[in-house]
């Protein structure tokens, strides 16, 4: 019996017709300029992602209307939460009688987002959430926040905002290497009843429609991101969890070594893209 592999071109042409009918054109905003600052939404792909010629922010793949919400901070619904983050930053909590502001000025955090996650002196891979909770427990004598809770995402958005426009630049070599390798393995491992890996959707098929969704490269330069779908800020790990659930897989825990390693690897796939936090997505 002969197995035929019909040409994909036939399918693609038919789809274009259908999409035109649905009115889903992808003529987006010309560029992402916020407050006079131009965000890098496309960059040359790093050598270790040979299947990508360029890395592209999730912003590129959103509709013109969704894109527009990010052009002006007054329109960006994420800023309501950034303001909450500011209050939390200044709020005294815990047995030491301190707030974040007792020890930090926001400008100390310029550039921090671009380098996270990173390996600390003890050889552990740290995310921004880990850094926040370390300060809370160790220096403030306060309870840690829930990994992707509303307080955590508000404060990580505020801290990430200090790096807005700066290119992602995580370390992948030296002590980071084993974590990066672990993350890479996870990225290419098929999981769940649908038997799909991150790469199946975000590397092999970005730019295409998967039912109602326009697939992006699954970049994390915009996190925490405000999603129109749930009207709140979403952490990187919450997004990973969502994608794993969609393929009917048992997600790793938020803050787990697996998700941290995956975060490092995915961050490295977006080297050179501007930090956009808080970005707006659907």
């Amino acid at each position: 019996m002969e197995i035929q592999k019909p040409g994909m071109k036939v399918g693609a042409a038919a789809v274009i017709v259908l999409l035109a009918g649905a009115g889903a054109g992808f003529a987006g905003q010309p560029s992402l300029v916020i407050d006079g600052q131009t965000m890098i939404t496309k960059a040359k792909a790093p050598a270790y992602t040979p299947k990508l010629t360029s890395v592209q922010s999730g912003w590129v793949f959103r509709s013109k209307e969704t894109q527009a919400l990010q052009l002006d901070d007054f329109d960006n619904p994420g800023f309501v939460f950034v303001d909450k983050g500011r209050d939390l930053f200044n709020k005294v909590e815990g047995s030491a009688g301190k707030s974040c502001a007792s020890c930090h000025e926001l400008k100390d955090f310029i550039g921090l987002r671009t380098r996270l996650p990173r390996v600390n002196k003890d050889g552990h891979l740290e995310t921004m959430e880990d850094l926040v909770n370390k300060s809370r427990t160790k220096y403030m004598g306060a309870k840690p926040w829930k990994y992707s809770g509303s307080k955590m995402t508000a404060v990580t958005a505020l801290i990430s905002l200090q790096s807005r426009g700066m290119p992602m630049n995580v370390a992948v070599d030296g002590p980071a290497k084993p974590f990066w390798e672990k993350g890479k393995k996870l990225y290419y491992t098929r999981v769940g009843q649908l038997d799909l890996a991150c790469a199946n959707c975000h590397e092999d098929n970005y730019g295409k429609m998967i039912r109602a969704d326009h697939l992006s490269q699954g970049q994390i330069n915009g996190f925490p991101t405000y999603r129109l779908k749930n009207a709140k800020l979403n952490s990187v790990h919450a997004r990973f969890k969502g994608c794993m659930k969609n393929v009917r897989a048992k997600p790793y825990k938020q803050g787990s070594p697996e998700f941290k390693a995956l975060e490092l690897y995915v961050a490295s796939r977006g080297q050179g893209l501007s930090v956009e936090s808080p970005s707006v997505r659907n």
């Binding site: 098929r190 429609m209 039912r211």
Partner: protein, 149 residues
């Protein structure tokens, strides 16, 4: 319920085939990707197949395949080829094989196996040991595909 009754009636009357119940996912015989024998012995129902094809919790085939026959449905994916004319490109046995486990036809494909219940990693508890479609739904979807001339 309707399906169960029909199956029961057929079982009592007998279809002439020796199939006692649906073929277990692990017992499906693939020959160059194709599956010759019906998984249930009950002819597929194209109308039911069309529903399973559209349903996001069942086939959700539209997630990846555009299909002109379903123009009334809003969103058609573009990850796989459009399925217009698919009935002419593949035999029933080949289509049954593609829907049951497309990896036997297209090596390394992104298309999920709709009639496979093991060999996965980290399946969510709710779906452990289960197939995406039932054996009869596979037959129904194949019957629907055969209408796409």
């Amino acid at each position: 319920m309707k399906r169960l009754i029909i199956t029961a009636v057929v079982a009592v009357v007998g279809t002439g085939s020796a199939v006692a119940g649906p073929v277990a996912p692990s017992a499906v015989v693939f020959k160059e990707g194709a599956v010759e024998a019906s998984l249930t012995g009950v002819a597929g129902d194209p109308a039911a197949g069309k529903k399973a094809f559209i349903n996001r919790k069942q086939g959700n085939c539209l997630a990846c395949h555009a299909t002109s026959d379903l123009k009334d449905q809003p969103f058609h994916g573009e990850i796989g080829p459009a399925l217009d004319g698919v009935a002419g490109r593949w035999t029933t046995a080949q289509l049954r094989g593609i829907v049951s486990n497309a990896k036997n036809t297209f090596e390394g494909t992104i298309m999920p196996a709709f009639y496979r219940d093991s060999g996965f990693h980290r399946v969510k508890k709710k779906f452990k040991g289960k197939t995406i479609l039932t054996a009869q739904q596979v037959e129904d979807v194949v019957a629907y595909l055969k209408t796409l001339k």
